[in-house]
Symmetry: D2
Subunit: 320 residues, 4 copies
């Protein structure tokens, strides 16, 4: 009997649609402080991206009367791979159906994870074409290094809250072919948090237990910077711009990422991170399991995990 | 008619076997200055790896009466993928045949590239298991960050010389399923250099034209460090240890990697590099083509490419 | 009436003598983990220095049945300046008298600060002369960048505890000609902490209130590294070597230094720090006064000051 | 007989007045690319400073029909020290006389160095007071870290060309009380270059031989950034903004500074540099003398000194 081969149907995390009830302040944060660039707008949405994101957008910021993530999107490796994933998701009974896409990409198939977050997968995309003023000096990056604000390079990963992370741990590998690179399993056997990847990045999405029991909440979105020094510099930029710093800079024990968490003006949590040269290239990577005791040691260099990390999500919950 | 799907059969560059005619000095360099760790030895070979390389070895250093690369190895994604690649290589008429592997891995299928470099592909591998003194504080890395010398993290890529890079450009995608991420094409149409990858790294092997017309020569091996600061620190360590610095630190125009080249005592070129957060996650990445004129501008910030870059390879050539 | 001129009699902090009741473990820490180099030993003391400290030693580590600082030394600008300082200190009634110096320097005049810490000032010193194996590649640094452990560059500053910081604030400018660059003044008017300098560094000694009311205790000694990345790297080295990390890396609100605090095996607190390009070159610098409210905001990016910061000193309060 | 005491009369380099025949382009460079902030303008001059320069200005940029430095200014330690320096300079026969100062400072005494560069010394200065939009989050820095362009922290040093550097080596210590920290002496005995400081910085002014034999020319002005990473980031910013990069980033053999040289639009050379934690605190520092042979080795890690370094100065030799 042969071992099943790894799945490469999904190429990478594509974008997230974030809702904001303070659209002007949020846009100012993402463009002038965080350093994303606007590539278009339509209806209540502004399309944004990091300077080396190759697609038209990686963040769709939509004005709404609430906050949180409206949908999360992954790009497939090929049209055939997209078809295979749609079939797999339909077999799981999680499908919603096709959409026509938007300014940034073509047809997308939508589905729900077991915690009611809305996902979509697509293949046809719109590449970002830099207008003259944004053309890079070196043509192998998508846009010039503009140096505005934190000037994040590219979308890195998302973190979502879920009432039952164990159910997600079963679902995502089946739906997207994701691998579980690391996880926290409590003494009770409950999966407290779980990190997934579809490619060589050590994670592109993570789920943490929502202690409020609410469904479908968003924890944070992260863009990558090239160096840890960029994270330290970001801290000064956030400080000088009155952005609330929740915790960090510090190094995660899990995944080893150097991180910094802030809240954008509408309350959505945003991270700046650098993973160094860490990649998961091993095709038969075995999930690293952290125990409750290990987790209590805090972050890599001893910083205790901040309490709001387990309660602050968007949209906020009315009462604990 | 459908577009063929991307190939994911080969997971990553596995190791290189380097020859040295100054085995003691070379070993001292790789262990105490470059910061690799020995995991075993057998016959004339010492097996070495970076602190976060998950396999038993990524560098096999073999005493010989010459220098250069004896063979280059890639690990496949699965046993089935290995079979598919063997069939493809045999169909190309490039196969040599199976070996039983060595201390670090199981059966491997050997073949030659059009310039007579010897490659092998394998699936069964031996994971590095850290002895007690080398166990990391955080269990998601392979070995403790020992801090010795440059303390490189993991094997990153190789560069080989070839008389006809254009032939390699045709061969490697067929043999390994590699993608060509960037290339230099001269005004004559000749491919002067070419960068390949089998995964999300922007390159795992590169070929440069051998101006001496010799075949099968080695240009350099590169290990990754987590930060550009590690490259700068490496320069001081090389300086203080009398290691010949050929060029750098500087930023490559092509691929954008921050680099530093030195010669180990036997003359093999060795690089320390950091790629920042740059990855090729795009499944339909289009090769970036650099012209002769663009190449003459030098490296990213204007450093002219050093002349020895095009002539110094191992083994050395008798006469130009 | 003319403003008195600034005093330049004291050139810089010279060294500290630290006591340890675990001499072997402390020495191993300072040499192999922190990266100091031994330049000599005599009696129960080992003389140590950072790789670019120009003097024979900046840390005298003495085996004892307790911990803490035995004495703190400053080097004067000239023999004449030394005489002036001795006269000033005698006029303050704080003098102890002359010693013959030790392996590292010539005659020194000892005195006590109002909290009973022992200080000495001297001019004649012994320059470190690197033995052949430690000679730097570039002759403008004192010793080669050896790259061992954290590899700190030079002594930076000390922090002492005092029951009455306000008394120290009056005393040090008169005794050493120090300037007060920053201070924390509580709502009660009490000086909670105070930072002093005798040169262009923004501080070479700081005092914090000892909440236990004990006299003469030591808070920490700090060596400087060249980059913030060196502090981050130090954190990994401490982690892998089982060194207790108390807090950091983070950026001080006061003075803006990037810091990391650990305990050496005997319990003396040790810091690794980087001040960036910050210097106090202004001859008429006005003391920056921080209020109790401002201090409660925590460190620069919001990290709360750890509780042990105000209680952990050496020797410990209840006996050794 | 007693050794003379060190001189502390001059506190620090104050500012430089640079001439530009492309005033709009130069101002755009200094504000939007280099990251200085305008604090005022008067006549043909714009007053500029780094974000942590405490004075009203450190760069006075004046529109003219030529380029180069119109004058160089040092601030004294006290009014009395200013008087002593004026007397010393008059005794040297180098004095020009008093000016009333300008927007940035009070009365200044002007003099010429032996190569006809105009200097001034002053004590009364105008402190920069940040307008509300520029107030820092932490009150111990002069202005917020605005993050615009390279965002240099503070004026660091100047380099001037001189036909006879040996004459300068005699003059500056007598005029300003400067110390010679390092020098290059050719096999002929000629001083090829010389580095001076009046405080703990390892140099605040340097002179290099002008191979054209012209007098009074300017070589470069340097602002300090906090980290080497800021220099690397600056290189990308210059690249993306079409600024000519002459050489670097690399590490100077002499003084060990990490550097990057560019030309501002009018041709004046501008450096971005980081000195790490290097300071000269030793009161009896002995000049480090580099030989012609040592100098030929190039910079610290082997980069050859670029040829234009010895010929490009402002104003250019053949008319403006």
């Amino acid at each position: 009997m042969t071992t099943p081969e790894p799945c490469f149907d999904v190429a990478h995390l594509g974008h997230v649609e974030l809702l904001t009830d303070k659209p002007e302040a949020s846009l100012d944060f993402f463009v002038n402080v965080y350093g994303l660039t606007e590539s278009g707008r339509e209806g209540d949405s502004v399309y944004l991206r990091g300077f080396d994101d190759y697609e038209f957008h990686t963040l769709k910021l939509t004005a709404a009367n609430t906050t949180g993530a409206a949908h999360i999107a992954y790009r497939c490796s090929s049209p055939q791979a997209l078809e295979r994933r749609v079939a797999a998701i339909e077999a799981l009974g999680a499908g919603i159906g096709w959409t026509n896409g938007d300014l940034g990409h073509g047809p997308a198939y939508r589905f729900r994870d077991p915690d009611d977050h809305v996902f979509e997968i697509y293949y046809e995309t719109k590449r970002y074409v830099a207008p003259p003023a944004e053309r890079p000096a070196l043509k192998n990056i998508a846009q010039r290094y503009h140096g505005r604000g934190v000037c994040v390079r590219r979308l890195d990963h998302l973190n979502l809250l879920a009432a039952d992370v164990g159910a997600i741990r079963e679902f995502l590998p089946r739906a997207l072919g994701s691998r579980v690179t690391e996880e926290i399993v409590l003494d009770t056997g409950e999966v407290a948090a779980c990190w997934f990847t579809v490619n060589n990045k050590s994670y592109d999405i993570a789920y943490s237990g929502d202690h409020t029991g609410t469904h479908g909440r968003f924890h944070h979105v992260t863009y990558a910077v090239d160096q840890r020094e960029d994270v330290l510099r970001a801290a000064d930029i956030f400080l000088e711009n009155g952005v609330y710093i929740e915790t960090g800079p510090h190094k995660h024990a899990i995944q080893g990422t150097f991180f910094l968490y802030v809240y954008e003006p509408a309350g959505n949590r945003v991270e700046v991170a650098n993973a160094g040269a860490r990649l998961i290239m091993q095709p038969d990577w075995e999930t690293v399991r952290w125990t409750e005791t290990e987790r209590k040691k805090g972050q890599a260099w001893g910083l205790q995990t901040i309490k709001s990390f387990h309660t602050h999500g968007t949209p906020p919950v009315d009462g604990p």
